[in-house]
Symmetry: C2
Subunit: 332 residues, 2 copies
């Protein structure tokens, strides 16, 4: 039997983590285990994963580095899909990973292409973790995937796509609608991860996976074509986005601990980065030193946006964050 690297996945019950778990298991290339906090041990989502034959390790990330290093013993590759608000907790884990002799860490990335500092707080917080990894000289790979199909399509007037829409103002065109964006199907995230994490070419590199590079104009066009419906577009100018961002930034600064203010700020920064700065595109990824997963794995067939939206129309799609009630006023 060939050597199967032992992979420990953190955050396996989340949206990205679930995709990664599926991708790792389907690949048949890894011994997969998951890491959960003590308070999650009895939860249904965790027990469901155990029922798939996946071993569970238990630790709280606030434990000492020594304790965490023990929990990591025997692990070859550590994959983190920790929740957005918990990025900083990974630093302790990375120090433990160094002590435990982990061969490669995959810190939580799986996001849009953006500069390392000063544009998206969400990205800045990840950079702090990447910099801790570099201080430790830990072997790593950063994997980004652009924006999900699942969050990138507008409602149609008949309402038949509404069941799959997370945020209700999805019919807004931002700026001129011509910013190209890197898109991936959420289900492909794990399939990319399974390819990337044991590939020597991706060691100590940034890599991005994708299925489509589409503008909002193109996305709305595909949706209208497949549905046969005409979308009533709303528009927000770049200037308005910038003004909204300034206001959200001031609100966040006054209420640093308020998760709703923080989420609003994150979302506006993401919109600004995607549609005004136009960061989330291949030319900028290349500038920042990313490898292109499609060039590394020419045989990989991703789920296209077109195929994904056909599933939405066939009532076969799933809304991400299905358990969340989302306020109608939040932009996606």
């Amino acid at each position: 039997m060939p050597f199967m690297p032992r992979v420990l996945l953190l955050g396996a019950t989340g949206e990205t983590g679930s995709s990664i778990l599926d991708g790792l298991l389907e690949s048949n290339k890894y011994e997969v285990e998951i890491l959960v906090r003590a308070s999650s041990v009895g939860k249904k989502a965790v027990m469901d994963i155990q029922d798939r034959g996946v071993k569970v390790r238990v630790a709280d990330l606030t434990a000492s580095e020594d304790e965490l290093a023990l929990v990591l013993s025997g692990i070859d590759i550590l994959v983190s899909a920790i929740a957005a608000q918990d990025q900083a907790a990974q630093k302790n884990l990375m120090r433990a990973a160094k002590m435990a002799g982990i061969q490669r860490v995959i810190p939580c990335a799986y996001a849009t292409i953006a500069p390392p500092q000063g544009v998206m707080l969400f990205r800045d917080e990840k950079e702090e973790v990447y910099n801790e990894i570099k201080r430790l000289a830990l072997p790593y790979t950063i994997i980004d995937v652009g924006f999900w199909h699942q969050l990138s399509f507008p409602r149609v007037p008949s309402g038949r796509a509404d069941y799959a829409v997370l945020l209700q103002d999805s019919t807004t065109i931002h700026g001129d609608g011509e910013a190209p964006n890197i898109l991936s199907d959420l289900r492909d995230v794990g399939r990319y991860v399974a390819r990337i994490i044991a590939d020597d070419r991706t060691l100590n590199r940034h890599v991005y996976g994708w299925s489509d590079i589409l503008t909002e104009t193109e996305i709305f066009g595909i949706v209208e074509e497949l549905s046969g419906e005409v979308i009533e577009r709303e528009y927000i100018s770049s200037q308005q986005l910038e003004a909204d961002l300034k206001r959200a930034s001031a609100e966040h600064a006054k209420n640093l601990e308020d998760p709703a203010k923080r989420l609003g700020f994150y979302i506006l920064q993401t919109l600004y980065s995607k549609y005004v700065r136009r960061d989330n595109q291949p030319s900028y990824a290349k500038y920042l030193g990313y490898l292109d997963a499609r060039e590394l794995y020419p045989d990989f067939v991703p789920i296209s946006f077109r195929d994904f939206f056909a599933e939405v129309l066939a009532a076969e799609a799933k809304r991400p964050y299905a358990h969340l009630t989302v306020p109608k006023t939040l932009e996606h």
Copy 2:
């Protein structure tokens, strides 16, 4: 006549800047101009450069971006060798460079290999500039050179090397003396810059130049062999270095604006990085994504440490920072 890119050099009268000016002029591949502040226009060092046929542009980096962009008009490549304490002033200049359509910027680096954040304040300040460049999507190259030969040799008992020694406690071995270090002759810095800045392979990359990879034990051995003298070694343990660094860090924190405290802190952080963390070596440079200039330019013949020290013994070397009076208590 072939196309000669127009290079503007900032900091041309400094130690690194002088080497870069020489390297650019000797290469015969560039139209070289220098940028000086208004208050420096009449200075002898600037007039000496003008006498070599180099055009002078005048600007203060505190000027508006618009004004600076005008000053940069017609420039293809901007090379900064700004003083250590002025790193942050480059941010404004980089925004102007973006406006002016500069094809490549070389921000001030020319230092040892070190992680981007949290180990050396000196490096952290540079990272802020690199991150501004990345936010702007400005084409760039980062060029590091390790530590200079000129600051890396011990005195010998006869005193015949003293004229070239900057800091008097040069006979100290740090830790076990076995940390490998990337070394370059100061005069090679400009020769490397002239090769690197117009090379497509180095666009948006980090590159390091070097002549030798030597431990302190090896350096002392070469010096004893060439001089025929025996050096009385002093020793400082890694633990002592760490304790000194903690003290210097606390002193710096209490006196953020005191340049002497800052310099002491910089120096101890550098010693800690080089000799305890062992950052300044090829394997870590490779981990951090650096290209190796010796691999890019196999025909480049650098000045070796051995040849440099033979010049010292022949009374042909020059002490760097010749105009500075250096307190005896500072470690280099």
